[in-house]
Each structure stands twice: as structure tokens, then as C-alpha cells.
């Protein structure tokens, strides 16, 4: 009697992984079986061998916690009622939920290639990971692969260990005359390319690189000094958008695609300063000018 009852259930039940809240957890959901009074979740670290069982009651979704990170856990569900217990459902296996606890560094200046570290848990090393950035740091470009050109991107596949994913991120302009990364805060997350994993995002800030303000290096006096020549050069290109004939990304300090007042303001606030290696300092010019 119980066996026949169970066989019907097995045909009706399907088990899937579902989202879960934190590391050490796996979410499960399954289809209901008619006549079920409740369900049991069976799990263990070997396929088909379930060392643990938990009665979750008459629900069709649950989170199983207390799982060891960075190992594959296998699950099946059975239904029960007064007549007995069904056979196992199909089996699913997974690492516990992937989580990101920190992203370092959280801020970087334009014109660099930092190694970003996503620290957390359960970065399944069997999967290929990719960095997802929002808002998308790209602009349309018919001549570029995919019809867009990005100013914030990773140059190689991320490398994963259980607790860390690292990726070398390019924050333009690293060379040549390319549009700089637009300053501001982005959200970065990791996603498994097979679509099975997506972490929560962490903020990543792109800071302006003040070393780029010195656009005019035409003579020894103005080299390494911000003065009116730099500003006149910028003024000549003022109001030009990327794509315009006179657009020069070297003057687009904030990377917003426009040479505009925001850019000039950066020059203005440092006008008269000399470069110290990290900032423009009004008092650093004396030696240059004597």
C-alpha cells in the first residue's frame, strides 16, 4: 500500500535549488504532491547517500543550514502521510550559497589596473565566474566587438578559490587616447557563466585621477603645473561631446563623454598648483618658477 502510494508521488514531485540567505545554506523548492501531510529533506555529501534528514512539515520550500562551505551537498525530498513515506524525489547537488563579504579595493583612480578581490564563501571552483558591473560601463561603438566599448572591464577570466575570486580590472585610460572611466560608484557582483550563481553586489568607486589635469606640457614652466594654458586648451574644446570632431578624451576628466564645466571645475579648483606626485599643491610651485 505504502509503496504504491509512494510511486505516485515520485512521478509528481520535482526538486530544485532555490535562493538562500547566507553562506552555509542551500535553498530548496519542490512541487507539491497531492495527499501529502508533510515532507522530509534528506541530504549528505555523497550522491545518493543521505546522512541527515529533517522533517520540514507541509511546505514546498525550505532552507537547509549548517552546511560545510565549499563542498557539494546532495539533496532529495520525500513526502509522507498516514499511509507511509514516498520514495525520494530526484536528487540535486550544490555548494552552499555563494556570498561576497567584501570587495577590495573598493575605490580606485582612473588609469590603473588593480587586482580586485571578492572575498566570501563558496566560489565554486568548477564554475567559470564573470564580473557584472552596473550601470554598464560601456558606450555604443559600432566598430567595437559587440557594438560597444567599455572603459571598465576585466582583462582576463577571474580566478576562483573557495573563499576568493580575483580579477584584474582595467580602469581606463591606461594607455593612449581612450575615453576615461566615468567617475562614480558602480555595483559589482559575480555571476557563474552557467547562470547558476549570482552574488549580491558590492560598491566600487572610480575616482578621478588628478594627474590627468595637466593637459598642457608644452614648455618647462607649465609642465607639471596647472595654469591658464591648460584651461585655454580645455576651453577650446569646451562643450564637445564624444563623437564630436574636436572631442579629446584627455580633457574629459570625469569620463562622462563631455568636455564641460565639470571638467573645467577640476582645473579651476587646482589652478596654480604644481604636482607633488599625488596632488596639486599651490605651495609646490615656487621651485618651478624661480
Amino acid at each position: 500500500m505504502a509503496k504504491r502510494f509512494a510511486a505516485v508521488w515520485c512521478m509528481a514531485m520535482g526538486l530544485w535549488l532555490a535562493g538562500a540567505a547566507s553562506a552555509g545554506e542551500i535553498g530548496l523548492t519542490w512541487s507539491s504532491s497531492s495527499g501529502a501531510a508533510g515532507y522530509k529533506v534528506h541530504y549528505g555529501t555523497s550522491p545518493g547517500v543521505y546522512s541527515k534528514t529533517v522533517d520540514v512539515g507541509n511546505v514546498t520550500t525550505t532552507k537547509v543550514s549548517g552546511l560545510t562551505d565549499c563542498s557539494t551537498w546532495y539533496f532529495a525530498v520525500s513526502a509522507y502521510n498516514a499511509a507511509g513515506t514516498s520514495e525520494y524525489s530526484n536528487e540535486v547537488g550544490s555548494w552552499p550559497r555563494t556570498t561576497v563579504s567584501a570587495l577590495n579595493p573598493g575605490a580606485i583612480k582612473q588609469g590603473s589596473q588593480p587586482t580586485l578581490s571578492f572575498d566570501g564563501a563558496n566560489f565554486d571552483t568548477s564554475k567559470e565566474w564573470e564580473v557584472v558591473i552596473t550601470p554598464e560601463p560601456c558606450v555604443p561603438d559600432a566598430g567595437a566587438p559587440g557594438g560597444k566599448r567599455c572603459y571598465l572591464y576585466n582583462v582576463q577570466k577571474p580566478t576562483a578559490t573557495c573563499n576568493r575570486v580575483q580579477v584584474v580590472e582595467t580602469v581606463e585610460p591606461t594607455a593612449g587616447s581612450v575615453r576615461p572611466a566615468m567617475v562614480g560608484t558602480y555595483q559589482m557582483s559575480l555571476r557563474a557563466k552557467d547562470g547558476t550563481r549570482q552574488t549580491a553586489s558590492k560598491p566600487f568607486k572610480v575616482d578621478i585621477n588628478p594627474a590627468r589635469f595637466d593637459v598642457n606640457k608644452s614648455d618647462d614652466v607649465t609642465k607639471n603645473r596647472l595654469d591658464g594654458k591648460d584651461a585655454v586648451w580645455m576651453a577650446k574644446r569646451f562643450g564637445v561631446q564624444e563623437g564630436g570632431a574636436t572631442y579629446d578624451p584627455g580633457f574629459d576628466f570625469d569620463g562622462d563623454g563631455w568636455i564641460d564645466g565639470d571638467d573645467l571645475a577640476h582645473l579651476a579648483s587646482n589652478l596654480g598648483g604644481c604636482w607633488t606626485g599625488s596632488a596639486w599643491n599651490m605651495n609646490a610651485c615656487i621651485a618651478n618658477l624661480q
Partner: protein, 191 residues
């Protein structure tokens, strides 16, 4: 390389101003005179500029504040300007700046900026037309911009123009050659 344009004759002029006790006109512009202890004025190094000269000239004055005109004479294709003005910060204080009439030609709206370290006696000046517009041909004399200073003591206090350039309207603006820059002195006379 430092390029100062103050002339030696200033000392003589300063004595004359100080000695005659002349007060400045009180025309209300500039109006930021504050509590006056001296009457301010400005004596140009080159009061009669010729073609190719960029000079500092006296503008309006009020109590202890004087407006200094940055004048351009007989120069073509002026798109922008870049220069520093150096002064003794214990005697002279930079107050502010305002537009001239050269760069505004054609109802244009140029940009003016003054930075640097006024408290240390050095301002860095920028004035420029904006965008893809032509430079201005200055026939005769026009005013690039005005700089206002407050004179804090009696005496003549030379100003120097340093690293000066007028730039043309080339795609990458280039310094106009063959120019001569002349500065002047701020003067404070007991009132």
C-alpha cells in the same frame, strides 16, 4: 625661468604719489573698499602701450581698492590668456576679477578664472573664449579682464607678471609671439 616685467622707474613714481597726498576717486566701482586706511591707485609701467603690448592699467578705484585693467593693444587672433600676477601679500590683497570686453566680442561668453595662492601673493589667471569660435583681432586697445586689489599700506608696491601668454585660436591654442608684457605698481596714499 622667472620673467618679471616691473620697471625700475616705479620707485620714483611711487614716491611722487605718496608725497602728493592724492586720494583716489570715489566712484563706487569697485565698491568693496572695506575700512579704508589708504587711498588706492595703480601706476602702469607702460602708460602709452604700442601694438603688441599687454599692459596693466589703472581702472576704477574706490577708497583702498583699485581695479587693474589687463589691456591688449594691437594683437590679432586672441583666444585666451594665461599669466600669473605676483605681489607683496603684506601690502596688497587680491579682491576679485571681472570681465573685460575683448573676449566678449560677438556677444560671446568667455570664461575667467583666478586661482593660485592669493594669500601668498600670487594669483594664476585664466581668461578664454570657449569652444569652436574664432579669436579676436584687437585693433587699438581692449580690456581682457579686470583684477581688483586692496592696498593695505602706504607706499608703492610693484606687481610682476609671470609666465604670461596670449593664445591664439588654433585647434591647440598656441602662444602668440612678439608680445611685450608690462605690469605696474599698486599705490597706497594716506587718506
Amino acid at each position: 625661468m622667472k620673467r618679471a616685467w616691473t620697471v625700475l622707474a616705479l620707485a620714483v613714481v611711487a614716491v611722487a604719489w605718496t608725497g602728493c597726498g592724492s586720494g583716489g576717486s570715489d566712484d563706487g566701482n569697485p565698491s568693496d573698499g572695506g575700512s579704508s586706511t589708504v587711498a588706492a591707485s595703480f601706476v602702469a609701467d607702460e602708460p602709452a602701450p604700442a601694438a603688441g603690448d599687454v599692459t596693466l592699467q589703472e581702472g576704477s578705484k574706490s577708497a583702498n581698492t583699485v581695479s587693474v585693467l589687463v589691456n591688449v593693444t594691437g594683437v590679432n587672433d586672441v583666444y585666451g590668456a594665461s599669466f600669473d600676477v605676483e605681489f607683496d601679500p603684506t601690502k596688497v590683497e587680491y579682491v576679485g576679477h571681472s570681465a573685460g570686453n575683448v573676449l566678449e566680442s560677438g556677444s560671446h561668453k568667455p570664461q575667467y578664472l583666478v586661482g593660485g595662492s592669493p594669500g601668498n601673493g600670487r594669483i594664476v589667471v585664466f581668461a578664454s573664449r570657449v569652444g569652436a569660435v574664432a579669436g579676436v583681432d584687437v585693433a587699438g586697445t581692449g580690456t581682457l579682464m579686470r583684477l581688483s586689489f586692496r592696498v593695505k599700506a602706504e607706499g608703492s608696491f610693484p606687481m610682476a607678471i609671470e609666465v604670461p601668454a596670449l593664445l591664439n585660436d588654433a585647434a591647440t591654442p598656441t602662444p602668440i609671439t612678439g608680445l611685450t608684457w608690462h605690469a605696474g605698481s599698486a599705490v597706497g596714499v594716506g587718506s
